[in-house]
Subunit: 322 residues, 4 copies
């Protein structure tokens, strides 16, 4: 069987681990892996080639994706998906491993349902916001990167006795923000799903810390918080209370870097399992981790509501910042 492998949507550390595992598992089972460049765009443009196992040497430890990635709005149209399927059939590619986030999985779901191409999804996004899995590739790495960055900022905050607002990624998900806040010992965290992060509550918290003698504070802000991003919240605090605060937007440094051990391990497990199932004729699923074990979900499940960060973690940030 000829199996195509592609990465799609935003890149995430661990994608290369999944690519490597898919390619080598295919080889181990006597199948042939093809690398498709630039995600679904590459399917439309036939930008692909056989990918031998040696092409995967020394990629496990690298961030980004050796297959490159792109967003592909055309793929939202049914006739372009039909073109894609025709291209794949012509090239003898019977099955696809799609490494990406929810947009990519929706494309995969349609491709399988409408065109009968066997599709397997592997969750690859630093946001950790997919239904049906407790983990996505890149989340653990991004979390550690954010925490390390804030450890550095803490040095300065504490040397100067200053308030810092640090913005982490997460347009509609507070997963990264809450985990980061807990891991770096932040004094407060603002995130979209939070039940009670009003501006007043934040001010009260900072004031209480000040009275308790804390001279420096870190507030982690998810970019998509209801109060606005870190710049907006910072401007408001400056205006209302004249605080000499600093704003840091971590931005794209959270996306890259050598993947953490966990992201490499799950990328490897998922890549190998996806190919094992495709080779057995199974399709229309994506992989995940549920309760510590490898889980298999129907692709249609991607339409379920996104998971929210556990409410008690936000509470714990509060307790531990005293």
């Amino acid at each position: 069987m000829r199996i195509g492998v592609l990465t799609s949507g935003g890149d995430a550390p661990g994608m290369n681990a999944a690519i490597r595992a898919a390619v080598r598992q295919a080889d181990a089972l006597g199948h042939e892996a093809w690398g498709i460049r630039q995600g679904f765009q590459g399917v439309l443009e036939k930008d692909w080639a056989p990918m031998p196992t040696r092409a995967c040497a020394n990629i496990l430890q690298r961030g980004g994706t050796v297959l490159h990635t792109a967003r592909c709005p055309e793929f939202l149209e049914i006739h372009r998906r039909a073109d894609a399927a025709a291209n794949l059939r012509e090239a003898g590619i019977q099955a696809l491993v799609i490494i990406g986030g929810d947009g990519s999985f929706r494309g995969a779901e349609a491709l399988q349902r409408e065109q009968g191409i066997l599709c397997a999804g592997i969750p690859g996004t630093i946001d950790n916001d997919l239904p049906g899995t407790d983990r996505t590739l890149g989340f653990d790495t991004a979390l550690n990167t954010a925490v390390e960055a804030i450890d550095r900022i803490r040095d300065t905050a504490s040397a100067h006795g200053r308030l810092f607002l640090v913005e982490v990624m997460g347009r509609s998900s507070g997963m990264l923000a809450v985990h980061t806040a807990l891991a770096c010992g932040a004094e407060a965290v603002l995130y979209p799903e939070s039940p009670d992060d009003s501006y007043q509550a934040l001010v009260a918290r900072l004031h209480a810390n000040w009275l308790r003698g804390k001279r420096s504070s870190i507030v982690v802000v998810a970019e998509g918080d209801d109060l606005g991003n870190a710049m907006v919240v910072g401007a408001r605090l400056r205006r209302d209370y004249g605080l000499d605060l600093r704003v840091v937007v971590l931005g794209h440094i959270q996306r890259g870097g050598s993947p953490s051990a966990l992201d490499r391990i799950w990328g490897s497990r998922w890549g190998a399992e996806a190919v094992r199932r495709l080779a057995a004729g199974e399709g229309g699923f994506y992989l995940g981790e549920v309760a510590g074990a490898l889980a298999v979900q129907p692709l249609a499940r991607i339409l379920d509501p996104r998971p929210a960060p556990p409410g008690d973690m936000g509470e714990l940030v509060d307790i531990l910042s005293r």
Copy 2:
């Protein structure tokens, strides 16, 4: 209530996160935390003092343990445990948070059962070899440290086309070895629980890689493997096949370092939960993670058999090294 906190056995990254969380949770609930130095030794020597929340500033990100640790063989004797309980009562310490591995938990179990001191255990050991929990503090950090070290070694192995045997910690457990091997893309792994790591199988594997054109290989060896440690296996390969190999023993660099995000988060959750339960009059338990969720186990469960690394992970190392 006065609650004592101690770390015992080998140190592990994340212990400080647990100490900080225990102390601050106690404060939040209106109780008083005391820091006990040097583990059970400190209980015998009354080496303790009240630990205010400010004493926990800036320790979350530090390796080791601010309370120091020691092994305490005396604590195996019942009359010394009686002395310990007498000391604790005299000082008004009614409950203990014990952060450590299985030896420490056995001590805690006896102290609770015989002497009625409320004891809560928090798993702190880089070996990840405790029954009743999928995770122990320090494991994720040690794993990432080992993987980073081997990434460096891979540069040299590949520049010189050489075989390296890298020994990781694990006297009776292959947990660290197997996870490390998978995460660093090792060509083979030797560990105590392995069903089939005979010397012949290793040689056959290395030979097959050589025929496939691989000029450099990494073999991860758990220090307690049946074939012997990395030095022993290396000497045998040199003698039998004249291989120009190198041996690296990672040793104590695996124990230290700033804890990973996961170790900080679980240290924080467990520290807070232990105190919450002790404050409610509960004792005789240890905390863990089972299937992704916080779990509570009776201390007596520490006598159960140790968990072994999943067999399919060793197999996956094999498949992915092609």
Copy 3:
């Protein structure tokens, strides 16, 4: 002799190494070191205390400054400097080690000249923009932090085939920008002292790379470049050419973090040497590195023009980006 030690201005990694060395050298020579908190502010407020050698345990590897720092505009007034001198005399502090940048050295110079307090300066600023020294504490660490961050961004830039503008610190100095650009293999660098970084030249460079087949590029921008900061330059490129680029402002993560080996070594050498000279009755100088060796400069030399980054480094960035 009683010798005060303070850190002033922006914090920089390596300051703690200098504090530790000053304190321990004082002890070794039979003198007494006092730690002054919050820079010159602490002198005005008598916020000081004896600093025993044990207070310097485990600070060598930490970013920030254990003595805290502050900017102190009052110190620009002569009568406040007279107050400072009076406070110091009253407390028996005869000499000062001042770790900071050019503002701090100007204060030190005036304090010595007007008030006769023995002052020794140690260059501590991540900007590396002081006359009379090839190196300042924190520069090497900040450089490595910026380079690591851009390595991560490169993963994403290359996965998406995208242009990134990355802003590094440097309001009036391109030192950090040029060194960073060379070390991370940037396609271009914009910095204040550059002879020729016109907007047209930048556009031409990016265009040439595109024609050569490069699909991703990194441009390093010093925050104080004539063309504006990275946001401004990015907006202009977007407007003029519709480029799908991304802007990352590294910001305060460059200031913190565990100091690099070089920053620890020079902090240690300078701290020890400053105290050795003060103890011998010498004052009115600051230390530096010139041509690889420890150098001594009169404090008045701080008024000399700032050094500019070597012109051929910018050129080299150009040659190496092909």
Copy 4:
């Protein structure tokens, strides 16, 4: 002109930066760079190929050497060097960039003197033990790696109140040992060129620290110290004083890893300069850094005595460990 580039001897971080710079400078000057694999071995076996500038994409940040390296004892024989020169002439390679240590430079010197091949040396060895240069590629990276590793060990040493002997590379040079000891705040350092590191002096030092209340100590040992390596010294201390100490041999983790900013910058400068000079018809030299500036030395100078670490650095370790 056709210019060959090779790496020889032990690999060192920064070698890839030098390769990249040589290749791109050649391209910028209108010449052609060839990559030679496996050092001088590759010259004897004609294991070479043209190296386009794109082959150098994304190698700047990688440890090891993409051209691989080997030791080549045959090259000590004059008739094999004649074979090498014949091979080079046949392939039209008129000049060589040789990145390596003193053995490699001796080979280069003979090749230029006897056979008239234009040779340029670039110092690449983590030992920093070449005459005529204050710096070699890989030293700064190895130093930072060793320091980071010892920071981790310090966590454990301090948690357990224990003595650690840590062995760093350096068969005949104490450069790495002394710099590491100063940067990690070691209590003592043993290295070959030390004037006074007798066993008695070490014992006295450790004893004095103990009396001063220090419960944990780190001793850095160069592998080639006169007293023996860390294992030997450790065994002696255990036997004589029954100390519960630990020995860690850092080994090959010091060789690899992403190069530090300095190693990348000097690799880039040297690679570009070597080709600029070769292209102008100059040969028989190697590059270095002397007093902060790029220096050019005749290849014959490699026979000069090796530099020793500054004596006052060892003394400083002593003063700062109080």
